[in-house]
């Protein structure tokens, strides 16, 4: 049941140089793939681009064809209250359940604020968040 809350994020290895993100974005555009959220983690000369897209399988395929290294990673998206304290209760819930956050990024707008999380134990996190009465983004909401 809670599998539907596990979202597939695509991660791409990306050399840190002008034009790399543009070529990646162009491939997605040309294939009609929409991005819901994006984050870039950088380390020295390279970065890892992480994105939530509406068609992750297709995105992986076309980006791999273009020569990008792509990996699909499981994350969860938590709907936050778009007001002060929205993040506090989510973070507290995870802390109480002894779940570590590997990384996180968020977007807000269109009446929603979503926190995307990569955590140490996805299933435990899903349960803890649902039990605490929070809402999770489900897979079908993406695409």
């Amino acid at each position: 049941m809670s599998e539907r809350y596990i979202i597939e994020q695509i991660s791409m290895f990306c050399k840190n140089e002008p034009g790399r993100l543009a070529s990646m974005a162009r491939v997605l555009e040309e294939n009609g793939i929409n991005m819901l959220a994006l984050s870039i983690a950088e380390a020295n000369d390279f970065g890892v681009v992480r994105a939530l897209v509406d068609k992750s399988d297709r995105a992986k395929e076309v980006l791999t064809d273009m020569g990008f290294m792509v990996k699909v990673t499981e994350v969860i998206g938590v709907n936050m209250r778009d007001e002060p304290g929205g993040l506090t209760c989510i973070a507290t819930t995870l802390a109480d359940a002894d779940i570590n956050i590997d990384y996180a990024y968020a977007y807000s707008g269109k009446g929603a604020a979503v926190l995307i999380l990569r955590v140490s134990d996805t299933m435990v996190a899903v349960k803890a968040i649902l039990d605490a009465g929070h809402e999770l983004l489900s897979r079908d909401q993406l695409g």
Partner: protein, 434 residues
Amino acid sequence: MPFFNHAIETLRRSEIEEMQLKLLRAQARRMYERSPFYHARMREVEVMPDDITRLDDVRRLPTTKKTDLRDNYPDKLFVPPLEKIVRYHVSSGTTGQPTVVAYTRNDIEMWSESLARAFASTGMGESDVIQVANGYGLFSGGMGMHYAGEKLGATVLPAGTGNTRRQVQFMMDLPVTCIACTPSYMLQIAEVAQSMGVSLQDDTRLERGILGAEPWSDSMKAKIEDEAGIKAYNCYGASELSGPLFTECEAQDGIHVWGDMALVEIIDPDTGEACADGEKGEMIVTMLQKEAMPLLRYRIGDMSSLSWDPCECGREHPRLMRLTGRVDDMMVIRGINVFPSQVEHLLYEVPEVGKNFQIVVDRVGNLDTMLIKVELEPEAFTDDILKLRHINRQVADGLKAVLNIKVEVQLVGPGTLPKGESEKASRVIDKRVM
């Protein structure tokens, strides 16, 4: 003190060559009798010690290649009795395998004597204070300079490498007249001195630099002499030969190779034919008096020319006129010899990266930098940036351990670097202006 060993240094060419023949015959005999390696080699080419009757006969003896050093690691080229060995130094080989060099007490004596003569030929003597800013330790540079300075009777300050501000401070506080280091480090010292508001020319007694262990040009020499207000003397040597051995004399017109220490041949690397006096070619060196690890006709890999023209300093010992490059793909980074094959070798030990690589060498300020681009294996790609950084660090640490210098490592995507042996040149991009 113009001469350190007057009798030897003032020999005429004919006397030098007569002495070289005698020493070569004795060395060949010793090798044949005591070195299993050279015994076999000489039998292979069917040359017996007694066949050496003229100096030109050296060309009948077998040559020694870097691969021979690798294949005989660590001690198969040592010549008994092994209990006479008093020291080892270690230098990098062409792959992960280093080269161990052994010395008897006499080898250390001769090495020190050779460089002490060279120091004296630059005008140095007992009243000089030499700051040795070469590396001490396994690298033979620092200790070679150190022992030669003491042999000369000068005062030695074993500063070692690094901590440039302190190096400058020493020059201010002590009557340092000479510094031994790499040319690029000399420029670095000059720059740091300037930033400290110190004029090496006015605020110190520095007069000369014994500079070597990396290639440098006449324009760099001019820059050093101008910026530091010193005379810069080129120095030549290699661990396989002992360490730093020879320098330019006061005339600064070529490096005197003491004829009783070394027999240098210059050959055409393609045909193997001997080059004429003054003609550029590949250097082959036979150390005539080394005991613990003597190499016959060692193909050291440097390109140069040798001149027997009498020097204006009065010495007739031949001079290496100009070191013009390498026969192989060895690079010198911050005074350390680096072979691309060493990098390749290390990459085989890190499964997360591919075997393709590219080395980018540059000089930032006055210090060499080395960037190594390696391809991440697709299976090793992970969303976890810490793991990727760990792979990066693993390669960097491994290379540091093998090469003895700090390198930057850049992970790139698979298939993004030029491939294969055929494009060997593109594996190394050297942006330095020497």
